[in-house]
C-alpha cells in the first residue's frame, strides 16, 4: 500500500503508544533477564533487573519457561485488574517476552461476552423447563426454531392417549393434602415419563390425569405403536410404584388408559397474551371416554388404533355405551 511516510510514522507511533509495550530480553534457553525496556511499570511491581529470573517477578510465567517454541498468552489478568497479552519468541541471539496492554479491548469484549453467556444460560434454562413437558430432544429442536405450529391449524392423523388415576377422588378426600401431593407426583412420574420416552407430547395435565398426543412430534415409529407402548409402560411403571408403596405400607392406586386414533386439527389456541397448543378432533373425545371407562390396570382402545398396530396384542372386544357417543365396540387389554 502506498502510504506517505509521515502518515505511516504517525500511525505506527500512535498504535505503539496505545499498546504500552514492554519487552524483556532473556538469555537464550533460560529465564534470566539480559535487558528490558518499555512501559515496565504497567506490568511489574518493581523494575526487572539483569540476571534476575523473570518468573520470580512475573508469576504468570511460572512453569512456562524457558521458551521451547514461540507461544502467546492472550488476556492475562494482572493484579491491578489490567489485562496483558504476552508474546514469547526466540531469535538467534536471545529469547524475548513482549507485553502489551489490552485492558480496554478486554473490558469491551467482557460486556459482549456477559450478554452472550447470560443468553446462553437463559436458553439452557428454557430448554430444561420445556424439556420436562416434551423431552430434551424436542425442546432443543423448538429452541433452535425447528419445531413450530401454524396458528390457523394443521390437519393430521394422530393418536391420542388419556390416562387417569382410578379412585383418586376418595383418596384425596381421606388423606392429608401433602400426602396427596406426594402420592400424585409419584404416580405422575410413571405416567409422564413413558409418554416422553415414546415421542408423545403432553398436551395437558389435569389433576390426577393427563392427555398426550402421538404423531405430532417427529418419530421413526408410527404414532399408534408409540401410544400403545407408552400405555403398556405406564401400566408397568404403575405396578412398580405399587410394589414400592405396598412395601412402605402406603395405600396403592391404579391407572386407566384410553387410546383412539383419527384426524385432528393441530393448532395454537388462545389470545395474544396466553396461547397453548391444542389438538381438536372427534377421536380426542373418544379417547377421553375410553379412559373414563378403563378399570385400574386396563388399556381401552378404539378399532382404528387396534387395526393400525404392527403387533396385535391379545385383547377382548367389548361393547360399551359411551357418554355422548353411544354404543361403541372397543378393545380391552389387561397387561400381565
Amino acid at each position: 500500500m502506498n502510504i506517505p511516510e509521515s502518515i505511516r510514522k504517525h500511525l505506527t507511533s500512535h498504535q505503539i503508544e496505545a499498546l504500552k509495550p514492554a519487552w524483556v530480553e532473556l538469555t537464550s534457553g533460560s529465564e534470566h533477564i539480559k535487558s528490558m525496556g518499555g512501559a515496565w511499570q504497567v506490568y511489574f511491581k518493581g523494575k526487572p533487573q539483569p540476571d534476575q529470573r523473570i518468573s520470580d517477578i512475573c508469576e504468570l510465567l511460572q512453569g512456562m519457561l524457558p521458551i521451547v517454541e514461540d507461544f502467546e498468552l492472550p488476556h492475562m489478568q494482572l493484579n491491578n485488574d489490567a489485562y496483558t497479552d504476552i508474546l514469547a519468541f526466540k531469535d538467534e541471539q536471545s529469547d524475548w517476552l513482549l507485553f502489551f496492554d489490552v485492558t480496554d479491548k478486554v473490558l469491551q469484549l467482557q460486556k459482549y461476552q456477559q450478554v452472550a453467556n447470560e443468553l446462553n444460560l437463559l436458553k439452557d434454562q428454557m430448554s430444561r423447563t420445556l424439556g420436562r413437558y416434551v423431552g430434551q430432544e424436542v425442546s432443543q429442536r423448538a429452541l433452535d426454531g425447528k419445531l413450530s405450529f401454524k396458528v390457523e391449524g394443521e390437519r393430521k392423523e394422530i393418536t391420542t392417549l388419556f390416562v387417569d388415576i382410578r379412585g383418586f377422588t376418595p383418596f384425596n378426600e381421606s388423606h392429608d393434602a401433602q400426602e396427596v401431593m406426594n402420592t400424585l407426583n409419584q404416580y405422575m412420574n410413571g405416567m409422564l415419563k413413558p409418554i416422553l420416552a415414546f415421542d408423545g407430547m403432553i398436551d395437558k395435565i389435569m389433576g390426577d390425569g393427563a392427555m398426550a398426543v402421538f404423531g405430532v412430534l417427529p418419530s421413526d415409529i408410527s404414532s399408534v405403536d408409540n401410544a400403545f407402548h407408552a400405555a403398556l409402560d405406564i401400566q408397568r411403571q404403575t405396578k412398580a410404584t405399587n410394589i414400592l408403596r405396598k412395601e412402605a405400607g402406603q395405600p396403592i392406586l391404579g391407572v386407566g388408559v384410553g387410546i383412539a386414533t383419527g384426524d385432528a386439527v393441530l393448532g395454537i389456541l388462545g389470545s395474544h397474551e396466553r396461547r397453548a397448543f391444542t389438538a381438536i378432533g372427534k377421536h380426542v373425545n373418544l379417547a377421553a371416554r375410553l379412559e373414563s371407562n378403563a378399570r385400574a390396570g386396563e388399556i381401552l382402545m378404539d378399532s382404528k388404533t387396534l387395526s393400525a398396530l404392527s403387533d396385535k396384542p391379545q385383547c377382548h372386544k367389548v361393547s360399551i355405551e359411551l357418554k355422548g357417543i353411544g354404543k361403541t365396540e372397543v378393545f380391552a387389554i389387561l397387561p400381565s
Binding site: E59, L60, Q62, G63, M64, F71, E72, L73, P74, H75, M76, Q77, Y83, V106, L109, Q110, Q113, Q114, N117, E118, N120, L121, D124, R128, Q136
Partner: protein, 165 residues
Amino acid sequence: MIQKKICILGAAGVGKTSLTAQFVYSKFSEKYLSSMGVKIDKKVVDVDGTQVNLMIWDIHGEEKYKKIPTSYLRGSSGILMVIDGTRSSTLQTAEEIVERVTAELGSIPLLYLLNKSDLEDAWSISEPDIQKLKDTGNPVYLTSAKTGDNVELSFASIAKAMLNG
C-alpha cells in the same frame, strides 16, 4: 516450597470462578460475571505434611467460537474439569476439552467436578452419564460452590494426585 499449576476448565457459566473463590477466599456470589482470559489465584495446601503452593489458573469458559488456547495449559500439573450438573450440554463440552488437554499434556491428574449440586430440582446429569465419567478412571466429585460442599476436598484431592503423580 513445592509449586504446582492447576488449570480449572469447563464451559461458560459452570462455576469455575465461583469454585476458585470458594476455595481461596471462602466467598460465594449469586451474581454471574463472565470471566475473560486467565486469572491466577494462589493457595497453600498441606498434603500429608508437605506444603504445596497451588497456582490456580481460572481460565475463561470454552465456547463454540472461543476455544481455550492450548498455550494456557503449558506447565500444568493437574486439571479440574467443571461440569454444570443442571446443564447437560456442559458435559459434552467437558468431553471435548479433555480430548484436547490429553493431546496437549498427555496423561496428568484430572478430576471431574459436577458443580451446582445444591440445585437438586434442576439437576440434569443422569446416573449413567456420571458412571461414564467414572469409567474414564478419573475421580468424580459432586460440588457446590454455593454451599462449599466437596470444594476443599476436590482441591486437596488434585493436590495429592499431583504430588504423587
